[in-house]
């Protein structure tokens, strides 16, 4: 822009009258309401209809959950709950059974042990979620924590009484299945993903493809049935593995196939130049993979992996079908006594809150991570 033109622009700008405030109807709360709730007659109608439904059902819910609810009953006498059935919640079920739902049939006096395990699990998740701890030492922390959890649950040493596995139950089973599932599926998934991408070992690649596609084509239930009725046939006579471990193996095999596909996506996203540069440095296959390719590939796919973990966490509830006593099964069993029959909704709301807290935290974490790892894609 040359000098005279610049001056002209300045002259015009300074000749502008002082800025007038925007119309009242377009700013502040009124403006926001007009833009977001009442921008057209359709929008207004939708807002009014939704607000009506929302208020109506919110009032009905508050009535049911708080105003008409029964919070405690004497002993097993649920007549007070029966009296308000349909119009009020029976939270007495939760007051009465909350420790059963959380810890199952674990000996009552020892409930602090599974509780402590849950705390360790949550601590482990928090540490693993923090980028500062993404180092080799993390594997050590995991090993120590999982060992401590095993000691706490089984007992038998350090003055802890022995608790057989059949009596474990509730939240801790869900966390054990999910955490061990992830911990073991992850390395297996890496091997499967590398195998599927292998160019020089066609037989291995074919095996990996068949495995991944086979597992992904069938529902988890069929694998769990396999674990509960077929695994015992596979093993030599006299060797028995308990049901929880068999279900755990099925979950690991299932999760690994899905994780492998996610990791394969990451491997495919690494540019060829990275492989070639590593080869030019004279690195062997394992050094190239472990030092150059995998660290980049895994970093890329952390958000989808977290989504996978959420799915796995929810899927652990399926072990109920083969009779393992996880959180959902504990809730289902808590209403089996005649006195408490028919109050399923209350029990399910309670475990819903627990599942929701875990999954929602993971999903928010994955969203945040995605924004951090791909700053360029943020709008």
């Amino acid at each position: 822009m040359n000098a005279p033109a610049h001056e002209a622009v300045q002259a015009v700008q300074s000749a502008d009258p002082p800025m007038r405030p925007p119309p009242m109807l377009q700013t502040g709360i009124v403006g926001w309401l007009r833009a977001n709730l009442f921008s057209s007659w359709i929008s207004t109608a939708v807002t009014l209809a939704l607000a009506y439904l929302l208020v109506r059902y919110a009032i009905a819910f508050v009535d049911w959950a708080f105003i008409n609810a029964v919070w405690s009953v004497p002993g097993q006498d649920t007549s007070a709950c029966r009296a308000v059935e349909g119009s009020g919640a029976c939270w007495a079920l939760i007051t009465e059974k909350h420790r059963f739902i959380l810890f199952g049939t674990y000996p009552y006096d020892e409930h602090w042990r599974p509780a402590l395990c849950c705390v360790i699990f949550v601590g482990l998740y928090l540490i693993s979620a923090n980028k500062r701890f993404w180092r080799r030492e993390l594997a050590l922390i995991w090993l120590v924590s999982l060992g401590a959890i095993g000691v706490l649950l089984w007992g038998g040493i350090l003055g802890l009484t022995y608790v057989e596995q059949e009596r474990w139950g509730g939240l801790v089973i869900t966390l054990v299945l999910a955490t061990f599932g992830i911990a073991f599926a992850f390395p297996l998934a890496i091997v499967l993903a590398l195998g599927r991408r292998s160019t020089s070992l066609p037989a291995v690649r074919a095996l990996c493809v068949v495995y991944i596609e086979l597992i992904r084509g069938v529902p988890l239930i069929s694998l769990l049935f396999m674990a509960s009725v077929m695994f015992p046939l596979f093993l030599p006579e006299g060797l028995n593995i308990d049901k929880l471990l068999r279900a755990q193996v099925a979950i690991i095999l299932f999760a690994a196939a899905y994780l492998a596909e996610v990791i394969r996506g990451g491997l495919q996203a690494i540019p060829r130049g990275q492989y070639e540069a590593a080869e030019a440095l004279g690195l062997s296959y394992w050094k190239k993979t472990g030092l150059i390719v995998l660290p980049q590939a895994l970093r890329l796919v952390i958000p989808p992996m977290v989504n996978n973990f959420i799915g796995l966490f929810k899927d652990t509830s399926l072990v109920l079908i083969i009779g393992i006593f996880d959180l959902l099964n504990a809730a289902k069993t808590s209403i089996i006594e005649p006195a408490w029959q028919g109050f399923g909704v209350e029990a399910y709301i309670k475990v819903s809150i627990i599942y929701f807290v875990f999954c929602y935290a993971m999903s928010k974490y994955s969203q945040r991570l995605e924004a951090e790892l791909n700053p360029g894609r943020r709008r």
Partner: protein
């Protein structure tokens, strides 16, 4: 491990360091180990079967099943064979999956679009729906719906919904009409009308491309889809005998009954899968560049036409692949029916293997059925995806 290792000058002798030799050795070792494991497992299994005196093979399929099934699409009684019982299960799985896929697509699309709506309340409610349903296990949701349906009053105090629809703990009852040949003829006529209007729309598009004028298709289309079946129906004498559910004794007679198990499974699957499809739809629409909307607007297209002609065809390319896997998930998740007692293939195969002790065959049947269904859905959706994929010059 092998071929991708640093390149050395080629050697003439075949030593262990040679990539091809190493590749063969490695594969032989790995396959050998796996083969040995498989052989060991098979040997154990054969031995165990022998010890437990279980005859393997599928001969049991022709024995009398003796298991009652609550709902079947084909004639079935407990005297029929296991094979027929399993077939009933497959049909039940396909029924819930097919209806579920259609409903989940509709609900998911509505919610996905609602999340992008300019209306604040609508958008927030839609995203609350997605967050809530995605983060709870499906099995828990199924139990929730099932216990809600079981909490309904008995048939005598059934809730009446607008006339002849009744909600009770025995199921949901709808009025229906006695289905006669005239109804079938009308259905065929409606299908023919739909096909004809599709052809008409294509012809209109061709004419528009050639001349610039688009002939009207809405009115002739409506006439074809609504008028044609109506004409056929009235020509056939319009037999209209309503079949209304009536309370007789302790239960309803007549009408169409939807069992609580089926209703809970369908509602659970549809609402759960819709949350995932909604996210796919939202991501697909967001993936279309904002400039495409603006360019379409600059051409004078209305917002509806912008969406239909410009944005949706581009968004579909992003939406279809992940939605395919949601369809597969819905089908596989329908196996949770076993937990609430809907007689799907898993449930019936499970009963079969408990009754006959044929564990391996039972699980093989379940897996074969699901693999077939998964593969068919994948193939169909891949074909559809190839059709809408970007056609580059």
């Amino acid at each position: 491990m092998s071929g991708e290792s640093p390149r050395r000058p080629p050697r003439q002798t075949l030593s262990l360091g040679h990539p091809i030799v190493r590749s063969i050795v490695w594969q032989a070792v790995i396959l050998g180990t796996i083969g040995w494991c498989v052989w060991w497992l098979v040997a154990n299994t054969m031995h165990n079967l022998e010890v437990r005196r279980i005859a393997s093979g599928f001969a049991f399929l022709h024995r009398e099943a003796g298991l009652p099934i609550g709902e079947a699409l084909i004639d079935y009684s407990p005297e029929n064979s296991y094979l027929r019982a399993l077939f009933v299960g497959v049909l039940n799985t396909l029924k819930v999956a097919a209806i579920g896929i259609v409903l989940a697509t509709i609900l998911g699309t509505l919610i996905g679009v609602a999340r992008l709506a300019r209306n604040f309340l609508l958008a927030k409610l839609a995203s609350a729906y997605v967050e809530l349903l995605r983060d709870l296990p499906l099995l828990l949701q199924l139990f929730f719906w099932y216990s809600l349906l079981q909490g309904l009053p008995g048939p005598r105090q059934a809730l009446a919904l607008g006339g002849d629809v009744f909600l009770s703990n025995r199921g949901i009852y709808f009025p229906w009409v006695e289905w006669t040949a005239a109804h079938w003829a009308a259905t065929v006529a409606a299908l023919a009308g739909i096909l004809a209007s599709v052809a008409l729309t294509r012809r209109a598009a061709r004419i528009q491309e050639a001349t610039g004028d688009r002939p009207h298709v809405l009115l002739p289309g409506l006439v074809l889809i609504v008028g044609l079946p109506a004409l056929v129906f009235f020509a056939a004498g319009a037999p209209w005998r309503p079949d209304v559910p009536l309370l007789r004794g302790f239960n309803f007679q007549g009408g169409v009954r939807v069992t609580p198990e089926f209703a809970a499974l369908l509602v659970g699957l549809v609402t759960y899968t819709a949350a995932f499809i909604a996210e796919n739809v939202r991501a697909g629409i967001l993936a279309v560049n904002w400039g495409q909307w603006e360019a379409a607007g600059a051409l004078g297209l209305s917002r509806g036409l912008q969406l239909r002609l410009i944005v949706l065809p581009q968004a579909l390319r992003v939406i279809i692949p992940p939605t395919t896997s949601q369809y597969l998930n819905l089908t596989k998740n329908s196996s949770l029916a076993v937990a609430i007692g809907y007689p799907d293939i898993v449930s019936i195969a499970n009963t079969t293997l408990n009754q006959t002790g044929q564990a391996i065959e039972g699980i093989a049947i379940i897996m074969a059925v699901y693999l077939t269904i998964s593969l068919s859905i994948s193939l169909f959706m891949n074909w559809y995806n190839a059709r809408v994929a970007l056609k580059e010059r």
